[in-house]
């Protein structure tokens, strides 16, 4: 699974895609989607072990709430600054590609997208 983050379509690859994270050091990457920005938290373990957690930011406010959390920046303020820039770029790309950043939920439209 260590190559998963490299297998995204070019349109969804982010800066840093292809960066191999160090063991035990989480790497957060973003990908613009119609509903907002998908985030992937990648963590390499020993040997072939890799953990990926995917979640979705539907707004900049949600990202700010998470960014306020100490561990997102991994004790490294530069990392948080870099993540902010990457998130904003992904959010911009998501806004440009879709009509709105509608949050999925009970009121959201269901079904196949054209």
């Amino acid at each position: 699974m260590s190559q998963d983050h490299r297998s995204l379509p070019r349109s969804r690859q982010r800066s840093g895609a292809g960066t191999r994270p160090r063991v035990g050091m989480p790497l957060v990457q973003f990908a613009p989607v119609k509903a907002g920005v998908a985030a992937c938290r990648l963590l390499r373990g020993r040997g072939n072990a890799v953990s990926q957690g995917w979640y979705l930011f539907t707004s900049a406010d949600q990202f700010q709430a998470c960014a306020a959390h100490d561990e997102l920046r991994f004790s490294d303020p530069l990392q948080l600054s870099k993540l902010r820039v990457e998130f904003e770029a992904a959010l911009g790309a998501a806004s440009a590609s879709g009509p709105s950043l509608e949050a999925p939920g009970p009121g959201a439209k269901h079904g196949r997208r054209s």
Binding site: Q3, S7, A31, V33, A38, N48, S51, P104, G105, P106
Partner: protein, 250 residues
């Protein structure tokens, strides 16, 4: 307030999972399916053993990203009490069926309760006999014991379809990812299938028409590409990633 499941919308959203070409797209579709099922939140996680001690894990969180982030920082999803519980079950269960928890487990579940998992439906997905990969779907509701009520019947009936669709999607994804990463040809997969069947070098040599030295040499190169220490470990890894499904009886 709990939204009722919309069976038609849920089936359509589940059907669309198959069209997703990557993980971000799948995540968005999982949000849609979750909402159509009348659930407030959803986690789908896949754990694949890589060796005796370590596992790889893929988890999708169709819920509050702050919760996802908190949960991921608490530890690997396979150590979550719901996931550990699912490993002991073959049928769907609810969080009410969980055995008495440790302090750490209680804190982990309490975190989820504040983020759309006041009650939870836990669905383990069966994998092939002899393999240890485990897929688990957890659907959450804002209301306690929601999944034990009659009103949630449609959700309970359709949730296994969602779990099966996700299991199929991840199986295809994992196969492709490992095959591409380790550059495995059909001939390589046949070799690994023979190893999985317990054939030794001599037997493989006679079946493939290659010399024994050539078979050993091919396994050495395969192990290097698979990043495994032995041919048995390579074959096991290929099997766990679903690469040997079609080749069990070569």
């Amino acid at each position: 307030m709990v939204a009722a499941a919309d069976a038609t919308a849920a089936l359509e959203a589940i059907g669309c999972l198959d069209d997703c070409s990557d993980m971000p797209g799948l995540l968005v579709q999982l949000f849609e399916a979750t909402a159509a099922l009348g659930a407030r939140a959803c986690i789908y996680a896949v754990a694949i053993p890589e060796d005796e001690q370590e596992s790889s894990c893929l988890a999708m969180f169709a819920c509050d990203p702050a919760f996802a982030q908190d949960q991921l920082m608490r530890g690997p999803i396979p150590q979550h009490p719901w996931f550990r519980f699912a490993r002991t079950r073959s049928l769907a269960a609810t969080d009410a069926d969980l055995p008495a928890a440790s302090e750490h487990d209680r804190a982990t579940v309490e975190l989820a309760r504040h983020h759309g998992f006041a009650s939870c439906l836990i669905l383990p997905t069966a994998t092939q006999v002899g393999l240890e990969r485990l897929d688990v779907l957890c659907l959450g509701s804002d209301q306690a014991r929601w999944f034990e009520r009659d009103e949630s019947r449609t959700t309970r009936l359709l949730a296994p379809s969602l779990a099966a669709a996700l299991n199929a999607w991840f199986t295809r994804h994992l196969r492709q990812a490992l095959r591409s990463a380790a550059q495995l040809s059909e001939a390589d997969l046949c070799l690994l299938a023979y190893e999985r069947q317990g054939l030794g070098t001599k037997a493989i040599s006679s079946r493939t028409g290659q010399t024994e030295a050539a078979v050993d040499s091919r396994f050495q190169r395969l192990n290097h590409r698979m990043n495994c220490s032995s041919r048995a470990a390579s074959a096991r890894r290929a099997a766990e990633y679903g690469l040997l499904d079609r080749l069990d009886r070569v």
